[in-house]
Symmetry: none
Subunit: 217 residues, 4 copies
DNA sequence: AATGAATGAGCATTCATTCAT
DNA sequence: TATGAATGAATGCTCATTCAT
């Protein structure tokens, strides 16, 4: 699980506050404009750092992007870690997950947008690395929870745990995008009405009914 | 449901074979590089048409993109129309949908990629238009099927039809991307193993189990 | 005084009404945008003629421009012919000229603008031809009038008739531009106040005082 | 009289020698080809500067043009300043002006051409700004001189000072163009003979006779 | 003779990356 | 280590001109 760094050693040595400024400026730029359209000079300006410095920290634009993605994934992992550790029953855990997604997506719009941008980068290299960094954790969380549910007798045994985890994540991932990304938000509204993004409890309730029934014995 | 054209009248008048060449070259370019990075001169070259001609057919790059999206959506709608009309039982319909997605995604990789690219365009205007063109049809198909299922007594009545349709589409949409887009394919493999993309029947079976159970009385 | 044609014979053979449409559309385009920025396809559209036809009538853009200039000069000559023939005393003639300029410039803004555009074309070939077509007539009119004035004892003899004619035309030419061209109009206002372009009698009176005194014995 | 800058601060900070190269290359390009037809890449090449740099100094082509005009006007103002300050009698001043025009026009052909180009830009915005920058100074100089002449008893009082200044400038402006611009030079020759542009003293003498008589009591 | 679709060279502008200070 | 001016290849779009019908 040791992932390679995409930045030069220098980036680790600068003042944390400066590093933070760079990460934050770059996250915004990449999230709002996508990889190709992001502008390095712009990032430098927003972060109040010289372009020259950025190129001291990162080999090139791509490495900068990778680094930023990496940081984003790390913050999402922080969010997930708590879920991982909690010892709840599967259905409680699902509710917990959905509510966490709702809160996190609203508070970290840029990071979710960035994640969304990343999912449509057309680059097999990027893709497998991103996917690995991003999904292996959630895959493990969901599968573990399902397997525990099976042992506890809460989840049917005739379903493939890994595949069920995948299906759950399909739902969760789109839900997350529905709170932070233009297209997905519109889509949610088209399906279920303009006010749905604000009706958190309704969303939780409906998801729970669906998933509970899908998994239960 | 009559959607505005984004191309000039001239584009309707050229030889169908030429139109096809342009659509195909542009679809590939936009699907593989995204809107910003797509290169008009490249498209012209690939389509064996002059740039000047392209600008006789389309006001500008954006209109070209919109037209291409429009065509993509139209072919997806053709695929969906048959599903719409079939009078199957909801569960048969779900199987039908999944198998159609599998086949279509493999045969029309570029169109699915383009759809994926479109979902992460960070442009509220585009977003709502795309979403409307793309999703209103599937939303209707799924909701209608669910409502019929309720009447037929096959589907539980305690679930919101529109929201259930949304959840189904979350699953289907990601499934579709999993067959055509780098990130999503990697993700499927991480969740369920490297050979899953080839195991069509397994995918159908697992999805069916999950969804059937989620919806049934 | 026989000036070469700049158009093909075909242009002489088309319906006069069509020819008129072309001249009028091209005059507007060249006058408003200058030679380089004028758009042939635009002219064709405005004149309701095909581009192909235009190229049947004119070898190229430059010849079209020359033809249009030629027509403009011809209409200005019509205006001047009457002045030429009148047998007035020099000072009456000057007043006559100024009033004619005022009226003509307001009624034929585009032609005057075109004349102005022409005077700053940086092309020695054009220049000498234009200048010859345009100025030889006025030069003759003014010089003749001055010489007659000398004979009649109204005009001092210690001044070079040709040079005096040139100085008069400096005044008249700028006056003409002041009624039709942006820069010159602003300039007139800066010198003499914002309402001067509307005070025709004032302009006539002041010009007359100046010129009368400049020429008189 | 403080006029806004049209360039970025960076342009003020570069080496004067480099700035000079850019101004000179751009002046030539705009003077010889007009605004629309001037080529930025060409200017960069001639000035031995990268295009990128030019765009660091100027927002866009138009601002570059405005800056160049501004510089041109500034050099013309330098020429005029000396006239402004001299305390000569009006008729001496007129001679002084004409001789200055003759010398300046021959030494600064490009700047005069540029001024000429500027006078036929068909853009009301440009026009009023240019006119203001360019003419308000000469207007003041001429009018002041005329008014002083009136007080000194050298100039008739029955003529409007501002309008007389305008008429003088009509003569001077065309005279200036006659030394530097194709059309105007041809015109001068047509009126007064091919050798006139070289006969400086003759021109001075004739202008003086005309103007002196026009203004005198 | 008339049409107007097609051509493709040409130009304004952007931006990742370098390097002298 | 940090800076930010400089670079120049790359790209969207225009338009004079041609030519098949």
């Amino acid at each position: 699980m040791d992932l390679q760094k995409h930045h030069k050693a220098t980036f680790d040595n600068i003042a944390p506050e400066k590093r933070e400024r760079i990460i934050s400026a770059a996250t915004a730029e990449f999230a709002l404009k996508g990889f190709e359209n992001a502008n390095i000079n712009n990032i430098a300006k927003k972060a109040d750092v010289s372009v020259g410095s950025l190129y001291k920290y990162f080999e090139n634009k791509q490495d900068m992007f990778l680094t930023i993605i990496h940081y984003s994934i790390a913050t999402m992992e922080d969010m997930l870690n708590e879920l991982l550790e909690s010892d709840e029953d599967i259905l409680l855990k699902v509710e917990h997950i959905i509510r966490t997604i709702q809160q996190y997506s609203k508070e970290n719009v840029l990071i979710v947008k960035l994640y969304n941008v990343m999912t449509s980068e057309n680059n097999p290299r990027f893709a497998s690395q991103f996917a690995f960094e991003m999904e292996s954790m959630t895959a493990r969380i969901y599968r573990t929870a399902i397997e525990r549910g099976k042992k506890a007798g809460d989840v049917r045994e005739d379903i493939d745990s890994a595949f069920a985890a995948y299906l759950l994540d399909n739902i969760f991932m789109n839900l997350q995008f529905s709170y932070a990304c233009d297209y997905y938000r519109e889509r949610l509204k088209i399906y279920t009405g303009n006010d749905t993004p604000e009706k958190d409890d309704f969303v939780v309730e409906q998801c729970l009914k669906f998933i509970k029934s899908a998994l239960k014995k």
